[in-house]
């Protein structure tokens, strides 16, 4: 019945179709966005953002930041129950948060040296070595590897390995996980809602839908046709070309949301042409981004070009003028001159890419053509994802360029150019220094100032060239009321019209 026709009889079930199942539903570890999509209504965190991206309490009744920014106190709501029936107490929170600090990528860096302690049954305290604006940002961000609260017993059982018992406090519980087929979440009747109006992810959660069924259908054409035929009600991602195809479909409501930047990353392997920054700049100068992005996502409506290192929605916070003037020069003559200056003598260059991400692959094909235009002897190497990733991570000497899509991130330190252990391996003391300063910025405004500097670092060292930001097309049945917040559906506010 789960994969029925959307059903007139049971208008309290929604069929969602997505390409692949998450490898784990552990919210603290997994970095897959589909995990966030599914567990977002199962797990809850201490704080969440409202529609203005301002942190609001969720499992905490209230929270407080000390003036020096080194101590946070969270008072928990009483009477909140886990799905297994046990009651949420401070020890659960402390165990969960300490585990999150250890296992989560997001916490890496920003929460180094921080510590969670239990004050009493309903109060916990976070102490951090340096004040930073990042702390609240991360605690309230729900996407991937987020600080979900789970019972201590579960943590005890699974330690730092991905948890298999999915027990949270949210309005939905995991009902069924049929491996590679579907995950069903079901409304949880004992949910204790916050007594505040719903806004963003904050406030009251009065679930209407009884069940949300996530079906995993690997083939894009099948997903699209399933949407068209009404077999599925919602999909978080249509193939890019679906936008033009379905704009006229009267049964569907389409929307887009940013999935993140597509970056061209350079390997500075010794002896390679891009060890020399001039050559990196040459490539950056040469690229004409519009055709690249057009090929990548198929439509002008589905990409934006952003000159700095954050995605377009965050522009309000992270805007900077640095690099704007030189962005998207598409100047082949200048590029050729730079290449000559950089001493590039026509040696073959490998552009590594995976076909599992069409947007990256499609961009790569055009990039390769453009690079050929300035005399770079590019060889495209397209691998399936696992091999690609292995090579990208471990075989840095075997490629010169790679194009890799990235999800949206909470702050600049998460973007490829600022990850010392990733990508092009630009692990310099200067970068570490920058990162440390940035993380120690007590407020957003301080951070924004440093962001100029960081952006300048990118411009100078050019570890990556940003191609553009891709948007996903999501589609939903027109009969469905389905709010989207921060690239995620808000299931507890969804209902059939």
């Amino acid at each position: 019945a789960a994969s029925g026709d959307g059903g007139d009889a049971a208008k309290d079930v929604v069929n969602v179709v997505t390409p692949a199942q998450p490898s784990t539903l552990d919210p603290q570890i997994s970095t897959e966005s589909i995990m966030g999509e599914i567990t977002g209504s199962i797990y809850e965190t201490l704080v969440v953002t409202d529609e203005n991206l301002v942190p609001q309490p969720m499992l905490a009744e209230s929270f407080e930041r000390s003036d020096d920014g080194l101590e946070y106190t969270f008072v928990l709501r009483e009477g909140v129950k886990f799905h297994d029936g046990s009651e949420l107490t401070a020890s659960d929170v402390v165990d969960s948060m300490n585990r999150w600090t250890r296992v989560s990528i997001a916490a890496d860096g920003a929460f180094d040296g921080s510590e969670w302690t239990e004050v009493d049954d309903y109060t916990v305290k976070l102490t951090v070595p340096t004040a930073s604006f990042l702390h609240l940002l991360y605690l309230s961000d729900i996407g991937t590897s987020y600080p979900a609260i789970m019972p201590s017993e579960v943590i005890e059982e699974f330690g730092d390995e991905p948890v298999q018992d999915i027990v949270g406090t949210g309005p939905y519980t995991l009902k069924e996980w049929d491996a590679d087929q579907r995950i069903v979440i079901e409304k949880w009747d004992d949910y204790q809602s916050v007594d505040a109006p719903s806004s963003g992810r904050a406030g009251a959660k009065d679930a209407v839908l009884n069940e949300v069924v996530f079906s995993f259908v690997p083939d894009a054409a099948t997903r699209t046709m399933g949407m068209q035929s009404g077999q599925y009600d919602v999909t978080p991602e249509l193939p890019f070309d679906g936008l033009t195809q379905f704009q006229e479909d009267p049964n569907l409501v389409l929307g887009t949301y940013t999935i993140g930047p597509i970056n061209l990353v350079y390997s500075d392997r010794a002896g390679g042409p891009f060890e020399n920054v001039v050559n990196r700049q040459a490539v950056n100068t040469a690229l004409d981004r519009d055709p690249i992005m057009l090929a990548s996502v198929g439509s002008e409506e589905l990409y934006d070009l952003v000159h700095h290192n954050m995605t377009e929605p965050q522009q309000a916070i992270w805007d900077t003028e640095v690099g704007k003037a030189e962005f998207n020069a598409a100047d082949t003559a200048a590029a050729k001159a730079l290449l000559a200056e950089g001493g590039y003598a026509g040696e073959p260059v490998t552009l590594l890419v995976t076909r599992d991400y069409t947007e990256a692959y499609n961009a790569a094909v055009v990039v390769a053509e453009q690079l050929k235009g300035i005399g770079v002897d590019v060889k495209l190497e397209a691998l399936e994802w696992a091999s690609y990733f292995d090579k990208y991570k471990e075989g840095r000497d075997e490629w010169d360029l790679t194009i890799i899509p990235q999800g949206t991130v909470t702050d600049p330190t998460q973007t490829v150019g600022f990850l010392p252990n990733r990508a092009g391996y630009y692990d310099t003391p200067e970068l570490h220094d920058l990162l440390a300063r940035f993380r120690a910025a007590p407020t957003q405004d301080d951070a924004t100032l440093i962001f100029d500097e960081m952006q300048q670092y990118i411009e100078t060292y050019r570890p990556l060239t940003r191609l553009g930001d891709a948007h996903n097309v999501y589609a939903a049945s027109k009969d469905l009321e389905l709010p989207v917040f921060n690239s995620h559906f808000v299931w507890w506010n969804a209902s059939w019209k």
């Binding site: 026709d5 991937t144 491996a179 690997p218 099948t222 046709m225 991570k393």
Partner: protein, 316 residues
């Protein structure tokens, strides 16, 4: 007879052993890391290393192999990294739809292709032959995904007769199950049918001019019977073989169709498992498929002797 079967069954063991070694080495030859696949692209190297250790992937290959084989010998194929179930369970679950699909496809194929192949041979060069050959040509050359999509568009989207994708076990809900299996069955059956039709035609052509056919004709045996009983049996060795091969091939070769129609079968399981480097599942599925091949081919070899008494497989 029994001794022959017994000997053949014994000979399966070395094959399975060799296949297991080959598969194991192939898998470990391929780049990619299950730990990394589990943790996602942002995981740090330390996390990956820790997970690898806890999965036992850091041990020497021989040790890993022996551990695995030891398990297999006691009937334990290990647990999937991703499926939250044991490999045996996974194969058991996924084999059901695959086998149902394969059976439907092969039945569709046989029912269509053997008669048409035979008739095409009989009326070689005629209109029937040409149209049958035309259809098989299309069946052979049009990729199965194109056919699958075309079926979906017509029956799923335009006519809305059948669900686009998904799987319902016909043993639980017969009508629903059949509805989900029709399109994939056709898509899979088409290519098999094309191949069987052509093979049948070729094989029948080989015997059609034999004197004994004329002789039987001289006794007034009806043309139909002459064709479908006399001729076909003589031609049946290749036909049986191709059916056996197709049956085996359907178990793994169904990956594309299964993926498109989203049927949780062995093919899809194998493909996704390879993509995410789910070693125990890959190894288990391939061993299972090897076994299927070995058994169908054993069966076919036995059938040879029954169909053509002059043929004695496995005898000097």
């Amino acid at each position: 007879m029994l001794r022959f079967i017994f000997r053949r069954l014994l000979s399966l063991l070395p094959v399975l052993f060799v296949v297991s070694v080959v598969i194991f080495s192939l898998i470990h030859l391929t780049p990619g890391d299950p730990a990394r696949a589990i943790l996602g692209q942002n995981a740090t190297n330390e996390q990956v290393a820790a997970l690898r250790e806890s999965m036992g992937l850091d041990r020497p290959l021989v040790e890993q192999y022996l551990g695995w084989v030891g398990g297999v010998l006691t009937g334990d194929f290990g647990d999937s990294y991703f499926l939250r179930k044991s490999v045996t369970e996974a194969i058991g679950d996924n084999a059901v739809p695959t086998i149902q699909l394969a059976v439907i496809a092969i039945i569709v194929a046989i029912v269509l292709s053997v008669p048409f192949g035979t008739l095409a041979a009989r009326f070689r060069g005629g209109r029937l032959d040409r149209s049958v050959m035309g259809f098989t040509l299309i069946g052979m050359t049009v990729p199965s995904f194109v056919l699958a999509l075309a079926l979906m568009v017509v029956f799923g989207l335009m006519l809305r007769w059948l669900p686009i994708s998904g799987y319902v076990n016909p043993f639980e809900d017969f009508a629903g199950g059949i509805r989900t299996l029709i399109m994939p069955g056709i898509a899979l059956g088409a290519i098999t049918a094309a191949l069987i039709t052509r093979t049948t035609r070729a094989a029948v052509l080989d015997v059609l001019n034999a004197d004994y056919i004329d002789a039987a004709r001289s006794r007034g045996v009806a043309e139909g019977r002459l064709l479908f009983s006399h001729t076909l049996k003589n031609a049946s060795l290749p036909v049986l073989t191709i059916i056996g091969l197709s049956l085996g091939g359907l178990v793994t070769g169904a990956a594309v169709t299964e993926t498109i129609f989203n049927i949780p079968g062995l093919g899809q399981l194998l493909v996704t498992s390879i993509a995410r480097r789910d070693y125990p599942v890959i190894q288990g599925v391939i061993l299972f498929v090897t076994l299927i091949y070995l058994l169908t081919n054993l069966l076919i070899d036995l059938l040879y002797g029954i169909v053509d008494p002059r043929v004695r497989v496995g005898k000097a």
